[in-house]
């Protein structure tokens, strides 16, 4: 019969010290050959990725041209449509945009077939099509959220708005297995910030080591990194990092400079960690030169979800930000039940544009998600279905906002 030894701390130590040596069976030559092979493959992959990223940049230049074209033609078109009295009805605007896209695409395709177009031209068309697809729903309305799904992996790049107040997160997705989440975040580069009407991406030279197991992202900055010095820049810097990793299963961002703990910000010398906490609102950023994108606006602590949703009605014209809930629409109350939230509207109110309603729904979904809700049920809205959403049923909150296609730039 066995005796209970009732292990002491010393006996545990002795046992640990007696654990057998386990040796690698690869000899040094074999190991070196394998390492060299892997390093060479990695170098080839990087070089390929760089080339493709350049190609993507060329494609985006074409998107920029298209967007600028719409901005130029839109005012005159709006005047022609004098019967449309609703200045904030995005639906009409979107339809026109789509029509112009189609026309332009058709012209370009014709040109392509007629003139034996070069490779770059074909690539531009593909980028345009993908750009439109990424933001559109089946009903031609623009959806600005990314749903979590098993087939895709997402990485978020965050950009300061032009006024340097808030952060615009943009989500890039690739098919699962193409890249690990680390690789995806580390490959975020070569953006067309001017096209999107945002500030320059700050983390191209930075490496990310994401450890969801421990809930930590390790962000390593190169020694010569140009850290923000003003408090405004510092704010954007911190908010951007939070926004980029908040949908992941992490709670802490650890900061390192050249492998050593801590970064020196203007007002925050030796900052080693950022905790991901706090809530944000998602309103609509409408820069003069750029597409309309959701923008993340931090909210003060202690605000209830109902107060936060009512805050979505407020425009911030100084920062070219539009509220997403029409002023005339009243949220009577909200009923939280665990992770489920019911949002009750005043039945008497109507919403003119379907696009406006879709934007409102998605803005509410994302804002509610910040408060820990996972399912939202909308009651008393004038439609039972909008875009891809069945409003008679609870809707799952999305993963993130502002989808952009990255697939074409991936190896």
């Amino acid at each position: 019969m066995k005796r209970n030894k009732n292990h002491s701390s010393d006996s545990i130590k002795d046992l640990l010290k007696s654990m057998p040596n386990v040796e690698d069976r690869q000899n040094s030559e074999e190991l070196y050959r394998k390492i060299s092979d892997k390093r060479n493959k990695e170098l080839q992959r990087r070089s390929k990725r760089k080339k493709m990223a350049t190609g993507w940049g060329i494609g985006l230049a074409s998107v920029a041209a298209t967007i600028l074209f719409f901005i130029a033609v839109l005012p005159s078109m709006t005047q022609e449509q004098a019967y449309d009295t609703s200045s904030s009805d995005e639906s009409a605007e979107v339809s026109r945009d789509q029509a112009e896209y189609k026309a332009q695409n058709k012209n370009e395709m014709d040109r392509s077939s007629n003139t034996n177009a070069q490779e770059e031209s074909a690539s531009s068309e593909k980028t345009e099509a993908n750009f439109r697809d990424a933001m559109s729903t089946e009903s031609s309305l623009i959806s600005r959220v990314v749903k979590d799904n098993e087939k895709e992996q997402h990485a978020i790049a965050a950009f300061g708005d032009l006024q340097g107040q808030y952060v615009v997160p943009i989500t890039f997705s690739v098919t699962q297995e193409v890249k690990s989440i680390d690789e995806l975040y580390n490959s975020l580069d070569a953006f067309e910030e001017e096209v999107w009407g945002v500030r320059k991406y700050q983390f191209s030279s930075v490496s990310f080591d994401i450890n969801e197991e421990e809930g930590v992202v390790l962000v390593n900055f190169p020694e010569d990194y140009d850290f923000p010095e003003s408090s405004t820049q510092e704010n954007i810097f911190i908010m951007s990092l939070k926004e980029m990793f908040s949908p992941l299963d992490v709670t802490t961002i650890k900061l390192e400079t050249d492998g050593e703990p801590g970064v020196n910000l203007g007002n925050n010398t030796g900052l080693e960690e950022i905790d991901i906490y706090g809530e944000s609102l998602y309103k609509l950023y409408t820069p003069q030169n750029g597409p309309k994108l959701f923008i993340s606006i931090p909210i003060s602590q202690g605000l209830t979800v109902e107060e936060a949703l009512n805050e979505l009605k407020v425009d911030e014209p100084t920062f070219t930000i539009e509220g997403t809930i029409p002023k005339e629409l009243e949220i009577i109350d909200v009923k939280p039940d665990g992770e489920f939230l019911e949002v009750n509207f005043n039945v008497a109110n109507t919403i003119d544009g379907e696009q406006q309603m879709l934007t409102m729904i998605e803005s509410i979904l994302m804002t509610s998600k910040q408060f820990g809700f996972t399912q939202i049920k909308f009651n008393n809205l004038p439609h039972s279905e909008i875009g891809k959403y069945d409003l008679t049923k609870p809707i799952s909150v999305p993963y993130s906002v502002n989808p952009m296609p990255l697939q074409q730039s991936s190896p």
């Binding site: 010290k17 386990v22 690869q26 190991l31 390093r39 197991e213 650890k254 050249d258």
Partner: protein
């Protein structure tokens, strides 16, 4: 052969491999991961400034590589068993691995310890492996883990207490199953 590789291999290979092996408990996986460690080391060797020792720097990279492996395993597992929450013990997926012959040849107590280590948290397991199997000092362990010395001491203390409990539990279970 690269002289940097040769030098590091001679000085640290046995220890680094063993550390990775006890972390992931799978020989083939440890062989793959040790390659990753050398790739990262060689890619960044020029930037190593000697603020920490070469040894702790290399172990710190090895630790990151193994943690990254656990994370990928967890993601893979989540895709397969999305409704099953394994919490923080994501690395337990490795527990189905057969016992390697080096362990199988040892006495029952060593084999129990090998299993009990897996029940500790990742930090506790790392500290215990570095301190008692790799015989590192508290200061070296702190450098590898990027922890303060007092945090290492606390983690070590909690880990040892946990191991003590798990080992005693295993003994109890052994007695119960034999008396049935």
């Amino acid at each position: 052969m690269d002289s940097v590789f040769q030098d590091l291999y001679e000085k640290y290979h046995k220890d680094v491999f063993q550390f990775i092996f006890y972390m992931v408990k799978n020989r083939e996986q440890a062989e793959d991961l040790v390659q990753e460690v050398y790739i990262k080391v060689m890619n960044s060797y020029d930037r190593f400034k000697g603020d920490s020792s070469e040894k702790t720097w290399m172990f710190s990279i090895a630790r990151h590589v193994t943690i990254d492996f656990f994370r990928k395993q967890k993601r893979k597992r989540n895709r397969i068993m999305e409704f099953f929450d394994w919490g923080e013990q994501g690395h337990l997926i490795q527990d189905d691995q057969p016992i390697p012959e080096e362990i199988a040849l040892q006495n029952e107590e060593i084999q129990k310890m090998y299993h009990c280590l897996e029940r500790c948290t990742t930090d506790q397991k790392t500290v215990i492996i570095l301190r008692y199997i790799q015989s590192m000092s508290i200061q070296e362990t702190a450098e590898v883990l990027g922890m303060t010395v007092s945090k290492v001491k606390t983690t070590q203390h909690r880990g040892m207490k946990a191991l003590q409990t798990y080992m005693n539990e295993e003994d109890e279970e052994g007695i119960k199953s034999e008396t049935k």
